[in-house]
Amino acid sequence: MTELSATPAAVLPAETAPDRYRRPSIWRKLRRDRAAMLASGFLTIVIALGLLAPWIAPYDPYDNNLRNMLKPPSEAFWLGNDGQGRDLLSRLLYGVRTTLSMGLIAVGLGGSIGAVLGLLAAYFRHLEGPIMRVVDVLLSFPSILFGLAIAAVLGAGTFSITVALTVAAVPSIARITRGAALVVMQQEYIAACRAIGMSDLRIMFRHLLPNCASTIFVYLTLQLGQTILLGAALSFIGLGAQPPTAELGTMAADGRNYLFFAPHVSTIPSVAIFMIVLAFNVLGDALRDVLDPRLRQ
């Protein structure tokens, strides 16, 4: 569902001053945005909780005790228990860990591939046609179809979903990177690099990439929210992480069976996904507003 990121994909950073003149003010502006600060604070906490899950989870997330089946939140089990009596808080912590790492790996990998493709397309004019054509085709396809096709070939599971999410992340980042890189290519210092005989690779990765980094970073943030949402949806319909793995989408799907008498089992992981994605979207939107003056209205 990436094509519906909160942003129209066509929005590219306008011709702007070189990055080093801009950078200090970005953070100053961002710090004034209360929603963005709240979102990044929340995300920091969530990521820390996910990282620390094995040490702070009060119980084993896979330890079932049928006597505690579907118990509502209590003092011993803060968020209650699921259908097999497992502690929901522990499963939530581990689930955040699984879901976030799936999203981070996919966006990191897909983003890197996309960024390299975008740089290549911007730097080598003769590569632009073929690369961008493939990117456009990938971009036009609904990400859920990648998920379905890859799960059909590789079988349902965390691995195939991560592959699908990676593929889905490539095209939009490639497009954004190319747009940003084309702007930087106009700068005199790139011409200067060429004039002193610097190698293409060095120009691309030492000069072009760092100057596009802020733009790419913003879109990675927005992409991350959409990727997590898609991953959770694929897991929910049974193509992603398989039970008993603690993963937020799978947990929500499991809770579906007890919806009418223990709604907390599905509500808790769903709310967690919602808040994480919302935080990424709010943060990404704020970053984009700061970076792209044309959209600030």
Binding site: M1, E3, L4, S5, A6, P8, V137, S140, F141, P142, S143, I144, L145, L148, A149, A151, A152, V153, G155, A156, G225, L229, L230, A232, A233, F236, I237, G238, L239, G249, A252, A253, G255, R256, L259, F260, P263, S266, T267, S270, V271, I273, F274, V277, L278, F280, N281, V282, D285, Q297
Partner: protein
Amino acid sequence: MLQHIAHRLLISVPVLIGVLLVGFLMLQVVPTDPATVMAGPTASYAEIEAIRQSMGLNEPIIVQFGIYLSRVLQGDLGRSMISNTAVVNELANTVGPTIELMLASLIWAVPLGVVLGTLAAVRRGRLSDRLIMAVSVAGVSMPIFWFGLVLIQYVGFHWQMFPFQGRGGPLWTVAGLNHIVLPAITLGGVFIGPVARMTRTSLLEVLGSDFVRTARAKGVSEYRVVVGHALRNSLIPVVTLIGLQIGFLLGGAVVTETLFAWPGVGRLAVGAITSADYALAQGAILVLALSFLMVNLVVDVLYAFLDPRVRAR
């Protein structure tokens, strides 16, 4: 105009071949040998070999792809490995409900989204604008299955207002209408935010243009300026964007169908994948991809038709 359409058609060809190639590859990963399955357990080696020969399984893979293509073109997508019915028949029964669900979602979500987006644009910067935009961001961030689960839990179960399992029949019957309400609210619900956002952005751009200033200057009422002059001009990009978001809607439909046991293509595809019915999965994914390509093409042509600047070319 014709040139534009021809160009678009030409671009679709490689994509089409790519999609078919994926469908073909999906059948190649089947762990069992189709000839052995077809021959049955008592067949001799020679019989299996004869079937292999007749099915073209001994040919080089590129020739096999050719055979696959000609079969698909003839409408033969193979047989489901589980129900042993023709995949095409299974698909034919599911395409209708999926289209039904998508239309039922669009029919209320798009107008509502446009109205909200217009309100937000007109009251830019004020509380109502910020509220609408906040709801829209929240809508984009909401897992569609959670929205569906909440509807099932309250509207379906506690208040018993609408059924939430399966399809009740054709839409012109009461049962049919009742059954589609919750799935359509779920799927449409996630579409409102994006439409509102697009409308707002597009309308804001138009509201700053010269002809709007002219309209205001000659004393046209603000309502007429917004609805009669600005909104009309801002809707072209909105219409195309909505068309291009069909893919997003398709993704939502897959989840919604699974959640509400709606007998559509998405649910069929998911079921086929989880039960490792490769032929059926291949067929369903092929149909989803092809119909998506077709919608894209139609939207593109429609865009050219709607926008006089493209039409004139």
